[in-house]
Symmetry: C3
Subunit: 243 residues, 3 copies
Amino acid sequence: MDLMANTLLSAGASPAMLHTLEEIPDFTPLAHALCLNVGTLSAAWLPAMKLAADVAVRSGKPWVLDPVAAGASGFRLKACLELVELKPAVIRGNGSEIIALSKASVQPSKGVDSSHDSTDALEAAKALAQATGAIVAVSGAVDIVTDGNRVVGAHNGVAMLQKITATGCSVTALIAAFVAVDQSHTLEATAAALSVFGVASEIGMSMANGPASLRMHLIDSLHGLDENAVISRVKITSFCEEK
Amino acid sequence: MDLMANTLLSAGASPAMLHTLEEIPDFTPLAHALCLNVGTLSAAWLPAMKLAADVAVRSGKPWVLDPVAAGASGFRLKACLELVELKPAVIRGNGSEIIALSKASVQPSKGVDSSHDSTDALEAAKALAQATGAIVAVSGAVDIVTDGNRVVGAHNGVAMLQKITATGCSVTALIAAFVAVDQSHTLEATAAALSVFGVASEIGMSMANGPASLRMHLIDSLHGLDENAVISRVKITSFCEEK
Amino acid sequence: MDLMANTLLSAGASPAMLHTLEEIPDFTPLAHALCLNVGTLSAAWLPAMKLAADVAVRSGKPWVLDPVAAGASGFRLKACLELVELKPAVIRGNGSEIIALSKASVQPSKGVDSSHDSTDALEAAKALAQATGAIVAVSGAVDIVTDGNRVVGAHNGVAMLQKITATGCSVTALIAAFVAVDQSHTLEATAAALSVFGVASEIGMSMANGPASLRMHLIDSLHGLDENAVISRVKITSFCEEK
């Protein structure tokens, strides 16, 4: 939650972190977008998450789901599948998480780490997008974003991000901030957020000596990014546009 | 909570973070001061907060309230107003939070960010201090501290602190540590804590490249501060002393 | 939890952080080791902790207990004593925590900070190890590890680690990762984890300007450690081998 909040602040957004059912009706309509992350899910938090998703949709605000370790337990998978029903604008996970959601089945693994490459998850992502109407993003060596038909690849980023906890969660939060700006281009906003985070990590990596200094330089770089730095580095490709 | 604890450790204090009602009676009397922060408030935590405030007062220990986003929901405002009744020695918030408490009304805003300047909140702060007997501190471009009669301004600090999550929470925790040392000078201790944190941020800023490196240098600077560095940099002004 | 996870990632392990009773039966058997930390204990978490310990033991996986502030309240002491019954492979605490567990008595103190040196706790550690069958490690100026009979001292580390929150928690998590590799040498694995963390802190300290930069360099150094760096620096002594 700390890294997610600092990612959003560095990018110019204004995060607030809430857990409580009681304040969702007052608070959620004021937000421009909602991010739900099931990382440390507990049974008590789930009703608040569902209500927040519901209030966001009724308020015309997009919401983004991070189905952390969706396939790691039946409890977690069921919760994620219930959230998927509540019309997220974007779902972002690693390959294993997206496959678990798409197949609605528990995928034994080591937990939050993906045992699938993002390209392996392409068909699962397309199916999930078609079934839910959400944009689906799969993080990996190349990040993939799809609406179920179009598929784009976002190529920026560094491998060492996997050695820092919550970088996946943080890019999901950044997607929420980007999607808030223009709801008519959700796929583009999602790819842009992944790319901007990836570019910031590349700039950060050039100054880093390990995961902890990368974490620091990543946030500093995200704060200092200008349009030229992004444009000169960003690499987004179209995988296919037919169906 | 992480940044709050590291702030306290760097300043030479000894933090402990507790959530549970069951251990308040044993634990709270051992503390020299208590800090209650409603940042990620949940209904289940509120009884423990109230009991801790009560035990602190009965033990003759000062306690400090950080009414994070007090005006953002009816639930949160009600909780903060109930806590305010329990005799905090200090209340520290941003302008919007202090106005919400003083007017006992929800203030729609973006959440934890203040939409009011600290000077706008001056009258609200004085009224809140008079009504509660607490020292009230309002963070802003200039921090203001008042007992309802005297008003001092603490001028140290850097704008980039607003790009780091939990810096407000952390300075509130530091106020608790300062107030613990000498309960007969709570206004002075509060202004001193704000100033010391501000000076550490200024020294840190001279080495920082962005919010994340500022966060690191801030804590390092707080740990390394000596009396001369503080005295040569600190700027506290008296706004008015009449009433 | 953040520093614990980043410690494990930097050391090449794969952490997952769970709170919920409902997913323990699915998830815990997949882990190679379990770490239970009572830092911010709440009554609601305790049943999940107990079930996780039970599932780990039945799955033949080692589990490690960090009895944070065990002697600070009756509630916390009772919880820790109940966990100790569930066959931890390792218990790691500071002197005050180990004495509280060994004597099963509340030890008034300032909380998480030890008011006892690790050598003072030697007899308590040996008694606790004999009573429970666990390896017991006591952090201090010299870390002590015992099976109740053999005692070794791990001498690496720097004093400034005490100015960073969760470094004790993090070394306990690292012990869990080391113990997972070879369950037939739990004492050696525990001493090795303490030494490796200590060596990383020494290398980090040579680049640090204070607690926050030490925290960063510690994690970077842990990630970059090679066998030669460890072997050339590590200092483990045998205190006694008779009994």
